[in-house]
């Protein structure tokens, strides 16, 4: 692979092997990414729960570092019909974001959103539009939470909807990652609807395939944030009458108008 890409083959071997080796620095970096992702996922889950008016539970967010060819085995959803919404970050650093639903579950959610009496009676165009909107909101919440935190501009392309088998969908993204490294890095989490089937397959997965660049950007920014000293407790008290009260006063006026 690496020779085809014109890279030094030994550096690629190191990359592969690097996935198994831990130094204090690497633990820190992965921890930072995981934490950022968790923040985003929390907001996304809240958004989903508000749209569906249902409690949503999330799995512990995870980062997978594994050889690309093992990824489909890992999820073990091989030929399940899946509705995927694909978005990409706009900007210099590439990052793919996927929202995956079981096809039936996507229909059910779309029916809920469009107030259709049953999933079967749902207009397919309406379904597509509803699900795309859902993805927009979810991923928007996910990214804006992260970008607020680390102060990086993260904007995304409009969602594209695909219905295919699970493996066929994720293969594309794995190929993209395997061009630069033999180890795929995937951030993912599961959302579960309280009203959904108990079967875990009916859950919704949020997957992010961060590129090397975006990883570095996020880690660097987060580390900067860690190093800035926390505001002194006194400052807050001093600031409160000036800043917070102004906001509080502004609101009632707006309402009166």
């Amino acid at each position: 692979m690496s020779e085809k890409m014109g890279h030094d083959s030994s550096s690629s071997a190191k990359e592969t092997i690097g996935a198994y080796t831990w130094t204090a620095n690497k633990c820190m970096n992965l921890g930072v990414l995981l934490e950022l992702g968790s923040i985003g996922v929390g907001h996304a889950a809240t958004a989903l729960s508000q749209i569906l008016q249902e409690p949503i539970s999330i799995d512990v967010p995870k980062i997978h570092t594994l050889p690309s060819h093992l990824v489909s085995k890992f999820y073990a959803r091989h030929d399940n019909p899946t509705t995927a919404l694909y978005m990409q970050l706009i900007g210099d650093s590439e990052c793919d974001i996927l929202l995956l639903f079981d096809t039936d579950e996507a229909k059910r959610i779309a029916a809920l959103m469009t107030m259709a009496p049953s999933p079967e009676e749902l207009d397919p165009e309406m379904e597509a539009s509803a699900i795309e909107e859902l993805a927009n909101i979810l991923i928007g919440a996910f990214l804006s939470a992260m970008s607020d935190f680390v102060d990086v501009k993260l904007t995304m392309t409009p969602p594209q909807r695909v219905v295919d088998s699970f493996d066929a969908i994720i293969d594309n993204f794995l190929v993209k990652q395997s061009m630069v490294s033999e180890i795929a890095i995937i951030f993912d989490t599961n959302f579960k609807r309280a009203g959904g089937l108990a079967d875990s397959l009916s859950s919704c997965i949020l997957m992010m395939f961060p590129s090397k660049e975006i990883q570095n950007v996020l880690i660097e920014k987060a580390k900067d944030w860690l190093q800035t000293p926390p505001p002194k407790p006194d400052d807050n008290i001093v600031c409160a009458p000036n800043s917070n009260l102004n906001v509080a006063e502004a609101k009632p006026e707006e309402i009166r108008k």
């Binding site: 198994y20 080796t21 130094t23 995981l34 995870k62 980062i63 997978h64 085995k73 890992f74």
Partner: protein, 221 residues
């Protein structure tokens, strides 16, 4: 590493996958930190013996399928002198101290005050290296044992000279019997005026890993 420690997912299909949550990342970090502590003590001991400054590389923890471990080190056929000690008692594990064969000769010459490394008596070289291994490994182990408040009793040192891969294969096989991912800690160090270096490698057993983690968690909380 123990599947119990690394694995958070209940999915039986992900036996070969590596998935990281906050919890198991913390575990890796704690083990790494404990190892770093031991390595610090061991290299201090070496520096006192050879009266030289010792450079230490960033200590690493590896969690890899056993068949990939020789590739991680990439020392394949290099002649290596290893001093090997086993931990006995309630908690077991393997520790080895690996030197390039040449470097081992040089250090032995220094320790026995022989002017030329080719003139070292082989029996004396063996004895010196075993002594060095004993000192370094014991300071490594006792640092860990002090930290975790456990008893770790090492066996007498054994000296082996062979290719690197041949030596670690034995240890890997032992770990492969109990879990499908090998876990080892290593720290590489080098005398300032020498080209070659040494590596101290710890293969903790599952029980030892868990005991250390329990202790680390207690300290943190």
């Amino acid at each position: 590493m123990s599947r119990k420690i690394l694995q958070t997912s209940q999915d039986p299909n992900d036996s070969e996958a590596y998935c990281w949550t906050n919890k198991n990342l913390n575990n890796v970090e704690s083990l790494l930190e404990i190892g770093t502590m031991g390595a610090g003590h061991a290299t201090t001991a070496l520096s006192e013996i050879v009266h030289e400054q010792i450079e230490v590389e960033v200590p690493r923890l590896h969690t890899a399928p056993p068949h990939l471990v020789p590739k991680i080190y990439g020392r394949h056929e290099r002649p290596t002198t290893v001093i090997y000690m086993q931990l006995k008692g309630e908690l077991d594990g393997d520790i080895m101290l690996a030197f390039d064969a040449d470097e081992a000769k040089q250090i032995a010459a220094m320790m026995t005050m022989t002017p030329n490394q080719d003139e070292v008596d082989p029996a004396l070289e063996k004895s010196a290296m075993e002594e060095l291994g004993s000192i370094m490994i014991c300071s490594f182990v006792s640092a860990i044992a002090d930290f975790a408040e456990i008893q770790l009793i090492p066996t007498p040192p054994q000296l082996v000279t062979d290719t690197f891969d041949a030596i670690i294969d034995g240890f890997l096989a032992k770990q492969a019997l109990v879990c499908d991912i090998a876990l080892m800690f290593d720290a590489t160090f080098r005398r300032t005026h020498s080209k070659a270096g040494g590596t101290i490698i710890l293969f903790p057993s599952l029980e030892l890993q868990e005991t250390l983690l329990k202790k680390a968690r207690k300290l943190v909380s």
